[in-house]
Symmetry: C2
Subunit: 607 residues, 2 copies
């Protein structure tokens, strides 16, 4: 029943050969990998205005050059990552690029930051989407956390069904959002161009503003750049693309950059021309929509698709996290389990872990994950910077065709990314300081795990050596009574014809011990019985003591000790509760503390 | 570390021989077994007045004859249970008496009701005590559930330390409560006798009351009888007494009856003379204390000891539940685990189960367990009635010396218990109906468990039969690679010289399979390797398929299949997280679904 439920939710298992069919076309890839980047259109322009507002609304015209700056950064990043894609066609993004060119620790800083970042993406996006929904239906507000968790679970299950299936479902809302935004911008720009928007709504470009400073402008720029956090995802997810993967990924990246640039500039432009002032009650996009199309049906479609894209932005995390985890896992920095493909060929352990971690964050912050946004932004621009620096170094040493142009692009990307990262560190230190604890901690853990795997590898590697000869075998059978279960085990052990067989009985009572020994001698005269008295009513302890004694005694003679556990298995699951699980306890104690072979001889009950 | 923490909380393990030292003296037994009964003094009289108040406060004089009725019932029950103690000196109370004289099902009704009842005792008493404390400190009110759970955990740990130790600690507050109550009654009665209490406070005895009916009087009587719920405990706990156990238990029972009668009548008397009217803000005992001694230091001592005795009343449940569980378990109606003595010789599984069940009830009812009181009372008077009827039947058939007198006492007890039980059923049906679901359900479960144990017993019992000869052994070693772990397992298996050894490898990739086979042939030319290709990336399924095939093939030739699992064990606990637990999964699948012997050959890592 459990398995048929799983099949219903996740789908039938897929053969490994079906991997090719699970690859993404460009349109599907664009939908699921760009949702994070595109969703930032819903809040990025607002972030710029919020910073400028601290000076004066007259300063709002600066949002236009800042938007140009963001687009320049976007172009630089897109071109840079395009070069990453072709240079590292097997994916891995910032982690692989940094590791290859700047050394393991730089790679781990990038990889660790991104790993945490994708978790933050999921938590933050889903919480933001939930807020958008519960703002529309205030009666749901008390259930914010529950709704957010529900969304995370839905996304997790959807992704467990596989990449293509989730892409097929999620593509519609993403493209709908793009179309709706383009229409909104089209209508708005038409209104502006045809002079339907009065000039009085906005200060003319170039109006002098008192109190404006480079610091404020850089801060506004950095805030606006939080819209670019999703750019990395495609370079991580190259293995999910249809062949030729790097080419398709690169085209998808360019398409995403183009759409993002148009939407971002469009929204900033309209906000300026309509003289929108951010307020806590209504988002900037909502105000623009109201000003350009009015509160009609289309307005609600805009609001609905915006809420949806915010939730779906989380899906970018689901696409990129498991693949990054695979890369880290292949290098031995995180557990191997992340390399295992699930029934539907996705890296299901990564997907599930991401879901659990996001739910934990949501619960921990009681759904108010907006405090995490600066942390999230700095966590993105650190690997951005590292990746670009790595690429610069690569071109410098490679000196391949056209290396100067390529180097210039990556250098520009590196410089801007670095400035943005620094701006976040400087202006948002109170929210950003955990980075200085988490990143070193994660790197430490990565190294500890790697060390362990290396130590295990060395210890398991075959080497030319002579194993000590096993001269004979001594089998110990702990018996709890004289039953068919014990009879069955003895029957089996006798068939192995080993050198020595000893039955071992623990008595809680001296008189009873005597009686048992007598009965045993009659029943199994050919199997020696050893009885220990257990004053503390433990079965495991006397057995361990006996094994110690035996091992000591046979130490010189090269005997191997094997413990045979007679175990009966009841027919139904609930029956297990009715029986002492002492065989399990004995097994665990022996496995971890003794160097003896453990054998379980089952006796299946029929009713 | 875990074990030293356990030692600190629970105490050093005790040898089985120390059982005698763990027995209770009469004074200690009185303290821990009578706390439930004595605590009812704090609410029993109030219950009577609450019912009478529904007619008129003039009717309060009826509380005196009703108190006499309660004392008569108390005397009948005490004498009846005294006879139970001597007739069944090994304990068991209502369960054993009913089972022996009225049949198994009557016994199970009594036993099942009491089992549930002791859980209710703990939940209800602890919640009541917590309420008393948080009424005094209203800021704690929001933490009611947490405080109640804390008390349950404390009582559970205290009881895990052993009966005598908990008795030593709990005896002080119980005796303090008795002394304080006696002083209160003494002062009050002195005031009344010396004429310091004006006659105007109360209607004279015998004042006619309009609207009073036999039904109301019986209802008031039943409510007052809820004070007698703790009487059963001593007869259940005989095995905990020092020798001669029945004699000591009987003396303790008489002492408890005497104290309970004096306190109960005293409080009812004072309530009448002082003209106390119950109200929701202040308890009757608190009003009496204020009227007779004023709001001084002593008043607060009364309040404090009352709160304490309410919490400690729960301890009666801890004394009686595990012993009743042992009796039911010995008869095979509940899991055997309840018969196991813990480190401190108490039946620790019963103690822990009781604690968990009580916490679950407290959480489920959000600490408001007062709704459970009627359920609890009816659950007590059903076994009371059954036990007395059983005793009547016993005397009737035994016709031993003085049987007529004994029969008369038990008959009186049976009749009154029955009336009280019926009154609860009739007047509190809306709260009491779950009894009609739970009791049959519990009895059904009891029988199912018994059936299972009987079936297992029959299947395990040795019989004269020839076991099918094992002609030879086939060992299958699933291998994941060519490592020292596998080498170690093969080395061991070779030392057993079994007929056939096959290594089994699951490949996820056809090319890789080929390469592995070639390498294997060079490494272990004498061990045949079978490779299965797993399109769904499962290891367990191909292995199961292979075992099926092998078993089918060797079915006729009498071969036994053994699966040898090579397992390496990392040095530190956290390392386990870093390795796929596939050997555990394989083992579980084989154990439950296949009739093969499972062998684990450990390879302990050194670092």
């Amino acid at each position: 029943m459990k398995s048929s439920f799983k099949r219903y939710v996740i789908g039938k298992p897929l053969k490994s050969e079906a991997l090719g069919e699970q690859k993404l076309s460009k349109t599907k890839a664009l939908a699921i990998l760009s949702s994070d980047a595109l969703s930032s259109v819903a809040y990025g322009p607002e972030q710029i205005l919020l910073v400028l507002m601290t000076v004066s609304t007259v300063a709002f015209w600066y949002s236009l050059p800042i938007a140009v700056g963001v687009v320049v950064l976007l172009i630089a990043l897109i071109l840079s990552y395009r070069q990453v894609i072709f240079a590292y066609p097997h994916g891995g993004g910032a982690y692989v690029v940094s590791r290859e060119n700047l050394g393991v620790n730089a790679g781990l800083v990038a990889g660790g930051s991104l790993l945490v970042d994708y978790i933050l993406t999921v938590a933050v996006s889903v919480s933001a989407g939930t807020d958008a929904i519960t703002s529309a239906f205030p009666s749901l507000h008390a259930h914010n956390v529950a709704i957010a968790i529900f969304f995370v679970i839905c996304l997790t299950l959807l992704n467990l069904r596989g990449v293509t299936e989730s892409a097929s479902i999620l593509a519609y809302p993403v493209y709908l959002f793009v179309v709706v935004m383009l229409v909104l911008i089209g209508v708005g720009v038409y209104n502006v161009v045809t002079g339907q928007v009065p000039d009085t709504l906005h200060a003319p470009i170039g109006t002098p503003v008192t109190g404006i400073s480079l610091f404020i402008l850089l801060k506004a720029f950095a805030s606006g750049s939080s819209a670019l956090t999703g750019v990395e995802a495609i370079s991580n997810a190259i293995p999910n693309f249809k062949d030729p993967a790097p080419k398709n990924a690169s085209k998808t990246l360019l398409a995403m950059g183009g759409i993002l640039a148009i939407l971002f500039v469009g929204i900033v432009l309209l906000a300026y021309f309509y003289g929108i002032v951010p307020n806590s009650k209504e988002t900037v996009v909502s105000q623009i929509a109201e000003a350009s199309v009015g509160r009609n049906m289309f307005y609600y479609i805009i609001q609905g698709t915006t809420a949806m894209i915010l939730v779906l932005a989380a899906n970018t995390g689901y696409s990129a996290f498991p693949l990054l985890a695979v890369n880290l896992s292949k290098d031995g920095f995180i557990p191997r389990i992340f390399q295992v493909r699930g029934d539907r060929l996705g890296y299901s352990n990564g997907i599930v872990m991401l879901g659990i971690a996001a739910i934990m964050l949501i619960v921990l912050f009681d759904g108010a994950t907006e405090h995490l946004i600066p942390l999230y932004a700095v966590g993105v621009f650190i690997p951005f910077t590292l990746a670009q620096v790595g690429m610069v170094r690569k071109w410098w040493y490679d000196k391949s065709d056209g290396w100067i142009g390529k180097l210039a692009i990556n250098l520009l990307g590196a410089v801007i990314s670095f400035i943005v990262a620094m701006m976040f560190l400087v202006t948002k230190l109170p929210q950003v300081w955990p980075v200085f604890i988490f990143v070193p901690l994660i790197i430490l853990i990565f190294h500890r795990i790697k060390q362990h795997y290396q130590a295990v590898g060395e210890q398991l590697r075959l080497e030319k050596r002579e194993l000590p000869v096993i001269e004979g075998n001594l089998f110990i059978i702990p018996v709890a009574g004289m039953t068919k279960v014990v009879e069955n085990s003895l029957h089996y052990v006798k068939s192995l014809h080993v050198e020595k067989v000893v039955a071992f009985y623990v008595a809680f009572d001296q008189v009873e011990a005597k009686a048992f020994e007598e009965k045993w001698a009659k029943w199994q005269p050919d199997v020696r019985l050893v009885t220990y008295y257990s004053p503390y009513r433990s079965i495991t302890q006397p057995l361990m003591k006996f094994i110690d004694k035996v091992e000591h005694q046979y130490d010189k003679s090269g005997y191997q000790v094997t413990v045979v556990i007679p175990q009966f298995l009841p027919k139904k699951g609930w029956h297990h509760m009715l029986h002492n699980q002492s065989s399990l306890l004995i097994r665990a104690a022996l496995l971890f503390h003794k160097n003896v072979v453990i054998m379980t001889v089952p006796y299946h009950l029929q009713k």
